[in-house]
Amino acid sequence: MIRFLLLFSRQGKLRLQKWFTPMTEREKKKITRDMTTMVLSRQPRSCNFLHWKDLKIIYKRYASLYFCLAIENGENELIALEVIHRYVELLDKYFGNVCELDIIFNFEKAYFILDEFLMGGEIQETSKQMVNRSIEASDMLQETMEEYMSKPAF
């Protein structure tokens, strides 16, 4: 099971956080701090895995963003690394060459995409087409809504 997913910048700014087990805000802040200091201090070309308490931390850097995933002991590190990659692909497909700014300005979209992909700490749908189809479908709903709002007399 995935315990949490964090996205943060090279400066340690948190861009997205998803917690799959209940945790207090204090714990979340502490873990975020631990993760950023730990991951940002890693040398380039080190391996992508770390042990932290009873969890395994899987991280990977894409451009200016670090994606950091915590999985339970005994789970598969490499497939977790590809969970990160698949999420990046999904973001990329949606935003078209995604960058950090897209995630800052459209954070709610980044969450929606993540929710289509992961649920309860497990992978829900691994097919890129399937995820994209549901995101598009919900965007369609969104579009009609926006049209409706901009033209109340419609």
């Binding site: 080190s46 770390l50 598969n76 590809e82 990659h85 929710d115 691994t126 926006e146």
Partner: protein
């Protein structure tokens, strides 16, 4: 396609975000945020009803502010209102806000539940998915109570859309993790298993996750999933022609699903059905073969996905641990990875090999890679890879290579990162002890450890070397000589001084013959370092000095001068001052004989698990160190030397009260100088233990005070009231014939027991292991019992309760480093001791109730404590003649209880023998005319009476039946024992 370009709504939000980004300072940001919060608050409070769009926009802004790390104390209600909007976009934002911001114990839950309920009933798949996601995200108990019964039917209904099935499966999984009791197995479970056959691979993937979790808890209910999983895996892995379309990831067929299926299979032993087994073996071989094929793509994603499946297959092979050829192939494959240019693969190979090293089939194969691993230790640039190399060296170490491995670890230690030094020190210390052929090597190694990494040598390590030197006569002279030489160095670590002081104080006489290490030279050497070290070390040295006075009368005046000096007698530290005064006085007034008795050489320490091993296990957290079954339960917390894990004296069980006083503690460890000087010298403990001098937390007076204060405070309220609903007795029957093991385990907590009984007294060490990475708060436990137990053997119960409160006192002391409120850190283990006295015979069972908070929810666990009548057995050996004479004496019908039952386990004589012995009676051979029968005798000890028991077990292998007969002087005892034992075969 990007929706952002379509002028996607919420311009105000975008403006706000860029304002924040343009803020030059933290203060400016806070100012801008406060302005926005005021604006939103006024909008929400305004008279004008907000339209859905504005509400959505403001809720989204609040969410953004919250994610920046600021507190949000309003807006929840508006978000909840969005749920009931019939516009998707508003609903979606409402759900997002709730899943990010609402924690599980919010008072809004019932309103949220209402929204969820409507959406689940809407039959609109998009809305249903949103609702299911929200349940999975929040996952509170209240939500589970409201929806847990509904979700299984959504999951298995024939007309549910695939995407909803996926969400429902994972939602159910989440609820099962948080509130397993609310997700009872039922008719749906069989149908869930059949989802493994579903056409839609997304559904199969989600279902496999669910089934794996459920199967871990109740394997029997999901046994049918084995064959389906193997079939599915086989279709993915072995058929090259199959087109999985978008489920193929960088030329690898359904890697996520493959990994999940392989994990599901790890819940079970190898399939028994031969055809199934060979089909699985074929899959595993194919996966191993594919590793040798040239890659189909140069992309790292291809190799990652392929190797993810490969590593999971290897994990399954190791889990089965039954096919030597597969194990060796797995080992060879990992061996290749050890030299791979990808750091990730080298890391994973080292990690996997660690588990492989503990299998007897592959241990030797792993060992052949020793040079590569040592090389990794020296050349890897990444510290986490080096750490795995250390782990592997530790795991592959045995008698044949221990010297090499210890030497390599020592040399690595000189340059190792500070973060892992302590762990390496512990590992070296353990290996050196475990594989020491001669103890001189051991002593050298530990002294080297202190020299190289003194700061990282924990107390456990140097305690241990002293324990061993004291217990091994043949190494004492060598140890004295070696520490003496090591102390010659101009700068030596304080830990070395502690070891040196202790050893010379005990065995300095063994080297005193040499004029270069005459008594005075030894003393001067120690004393030259005295002023540079800390108070505890100085206290220890003072004790060494008084020991010197006994060993070498010729230095007595010199030492007395030192003790008499102002810097000792008027030392600011009370402990030092007291020691100086008392030792000085002792040396003046006591005759040589008395002195010799008081300061006699330390007696050997009782054998027990290495405290270092315990420390390493604790450091690593539960489940991380190989071969840690029974031994794990010895983890002693941080005051190892004041703990009593060994029974004192078999012949005279200490009374319960006396046991609480440190004077009766089993280790000869707790005598402070106070007791010595008080003229209170009981002849049986006349020695002073230097080690314990600095263990202030558990010394006499404090303990007593704490115990008393705890007794006077209200008892820990062992209510039988609205306690937990289910009492776990899953492992209960296993404990009838054994005393140690795991009695309870769920995802959060593991409870282990280690118990010992003597006559009518018993002691249970309860170990609570926090399996999570977060704290347990308000942790408390109590023992209660059913009404029958109360009325019938009330005294027993009362004793249990008193002791619990008393023991809480002890606990507080032992874990003095912890905060006052009972917190169990993530990965940590807490120990509790229960003392039990059996007053009269009983048949009911006490229940251990555990309560704590985890992640905001109160967890309530009740476990049947395995305290049964047979625990108070003392075995009785008797001759055939005696046996039959007594058998006849117990001939009254009420005294005999007999039962005939079917064997539930294979009828193995050795196992049966072991079980009968474990039951507590003596096994009498050559008593029964039929050698196939088992005959036993024993006496149940209660405080009031003793009840003699005879038993006879007659197996009938043809019919796979047993007949069990028990005769005791009491009907109730016969019946109870018969009930207990007949369930064991």
């Amino acid at each position: 396609m990007p929706a952002v370009s379509k002028g996607d709504g919420m311009r105000g939000l975008a403006v706000f975000i860029s304002d924040i980004r343009n803020c030059k300072s933290k203060e400016a940001e806070v100012k801008r945020i406060n302005k926005e919060l005021a604006n939103i608050r006024s909008k929400f409070k305004g008279d004008k009803a907000l339209d859905g769009y504005s509400k959505k926009k403001y809720v989204c802004k609040l969410l953004f502010i919250f994610l920046l790390g600021h507190d949000i104390d309003f807006g929840h209600m508006e978000a909840v209102n969005l749920l009931s909007s019939n516009k998707y976009t508003e609903k979606q934002i409402g759900y997002l806000f709730i899943s990010v911001l609402v924690n599980s114990n919010s008072d809004l839950i019932s309103l949220i539940n209402n929204g969820i309920k409507n959406d689940l009933a809407s039959r609109n798949p998009t809305f249903m998915n949103l609702a299911l996601h929200c349940i999975a995200n929040v996952g509170s108990r209240e939500m589970a109570e409201a929806f847990a019964s509904q979700i299984p039917s959504i999951l298995v209904a024939g007309d549910t859309m695939d995407s909803v099935k996926q969400s429902a499966a994972l939602c159910l999984l989440r609820l099962n993790r948080t509130s397993p009791d609310l997700v009872p197995m039922g008719e749906w479970t069989a149908r869930v298993v059949h989802l493994l056959n579903d056409q839609h691979l997304g559904v199969v993937t989600a279902a496999t996750s669910l089934i794996t979790t459920l199967a871990q808890k109740s394997p029997e209910d999901f046994r049918t999933s084995i064959s389906l999983a193997v079939a599915r895996l086989s279709r993915i892995v072995t058929s090259a022609s199959i087109d999985l379309q978008d489920y193929t990831y960088y030329f690898v067929a359904a890697p996520w699903l493959s990994v999940k299926l392989l994990r599901l299979l790890q819940c079970y032993p190898p399939p028994e059905d031969a055809a199934l087994r060979s089909r699985l073996t074929e899959c595993l071989e194919t996966i191993l073969n594919k590793a040798q094929e040239p890659p189909k793509s140069k992309k790292v994603q291809h190799s990652n996905a392929k190797n993810a499946v490969l590593f999971e297959a290897i994990a399954l092979i190791i889990h089965h641990d039954s096919e030597p050829t597969l194990l060796v192939r797995a080992c060879n494959q990992l061996g290749q990875f050890l030299q791979h240019r990808e750091t990730n693969l080298r890391y994973l190979a080292l990690e996997s090999m660690c588990t492989l090293a503990s299998s007897e089939f592959s241990h030797e194969a792993v060992k052949t890679h020793i040079d590569t691993v040592i090389n990794a230790l020296k050349t890897e640039r990444d510290v986490s890879v080096r750490q795995r190399a250390v782990d592997l060296l530790y795991a592959m170490c045995d008698r044949s290579n221990s010297k090499q491995i210890v030497a390599e670890m020592l040399s690595y230690l000189e340059n190792a990162d500070y973060s892992i030094r302590e762990e390496i020190v512990l590992k070296v210390a353990i290996l050196a002890e475990k594989y020491a052929v001669d103890y001189t090597w051991y002593v050298d190694t530990i002294l080297n450890l202190i020299r190289i990494a003194g700061d990282h040598v924990s107390e456990e390590v140097w305690y241990r070397v002293i324990q061993i030197v004291i217990n091994q006569d043949d190494v004492q002279g060598y140890a004295a000589k070696t520490v003496f030489e090591a102390l010659q160095a101009p700068a030596c670590h304080e830990n070395l001084l502690k070891v040196g002081g202790y050893i010379l104080g005990e065995f300095g006489n063994l080297i005193a013959g040499d004029p270069r290490s005459s008594p005075l030279v030894q003393f001067n050497l120690l004393h030259s370092k005295f002023h540079l070290c800390s108070v505890p070390t100085r206290a220890l040295l003072l004790s060494a000095y008084i020991k010197f006075i006994n060993l070498f009368p010729e230095v007595k005046p010199t030492i007395q001068d030192v003790l008499r000096s102002d810097s000792q007698l008027r030392n600011a530290d009370v402990e030092l001052q007291q020691r100086a005064i008392e030792y000085l006085r002792l040396s003046c007034i006591a005759s040589t004989d008395i002195l010799a008795t008081v300061l006699e050489e330390m007696p050997p320490f009782p054998e027990r698990e290495s405290s270092i091993l315990a420390k390493l296990k604790k450091k690593k957290g539960p489940g991380k160190v190989p071969d840690m079954d029974e031994a794990r339960w010895n983890v002693n917390g941080n005051t190892e030397h004041s703990e009593n894990t060994e029974p004192t004296n078999k012949s005279s069980p200490p009374s319960l009260v006396a046991d609480l006083l440190p004077t009766n503690r089993p280790r000869p460890a707790s005598y402070s100088p106070t007791i010595l000087s008080a003229g209170n010298m009981a002849p049986s403990h006349p020695f002073t233990d230097l080690l314990n001098m600095n263990s202030s937390p558990a010394t006499g007076a404090n303990l007593l005070v704490d115990v008393l204060s705890d007794l006077s405070s209200p008892a820990p309220a062992p209510t039988t009231g609205p306690g937990p609903t289910d009492v776990c007795e899953e492992h209960f029957s296993r404990f009838v014939c054994k005393n140690n093991g795991v009695i309870f385990e769920n995802q959060l907590l593991q409870i282990g027991l280690k118990s010992e009984y003597r006559q009518n007294l018993g002691r249970i060490y309860v170990f609570y292991g926090n399996k999570t990475s977060s704290q347990f708060l308000s942790f408390s436990s109590s023992v209660t019992s059913s009404d029958t137990l109360k009325t019938h053997i009330l005294p027993l119960l009362r004793l249990l309760l008193t002791d619990l409160s008393v023991l809480k006192g002890i606990l507080c002391l032992n874990v003095h480093t912890m905060p006052v409120d009972p917190t169990v850190e993530g990965g940590a283990q807490l120990q509790q001791i229960l003392n039990i006295e059996c007053l009269s015979d009983f048949s009911d069972t006490p229940v251990l109730n555990v309560e704590f908070r985890y992640g905001g929810t109160l967890q309530n666990i009740a476990v049947k404590l395995p305290v049964m009548l047979n625990k108070f057995f003392q075995p009785t050996e008797m001759t055939s003649e005696d046996f039959f004479q007594r058998w006849k004496q117990l001939g009254v019908p009420q005294q005999e209880v007999q039962t005939i039952f079917k064997a539930q386990h294979p009828m193995d004589t050795d196992v049966t023998n072991a079980k009968i012995l474990g039951f507590g009676v003596a096994l009498l051979s050559e008593v029964d005319p039929n050698p196939a029968n088992f005959v036993g005798a024993g006496v149940i000890h209660t405080k009031n009476t003793q009840v003699g028991c005879l038993l006879r077990l007659e197996p009938n292998p043809q019919a796979e039946m047993y007949r069990l007969t028990l005769r005791t002087s009491r009907e109730s005892v016969s019946q109870r024992l018969c009930d207990l034992l007949s369930e064991q075969f």
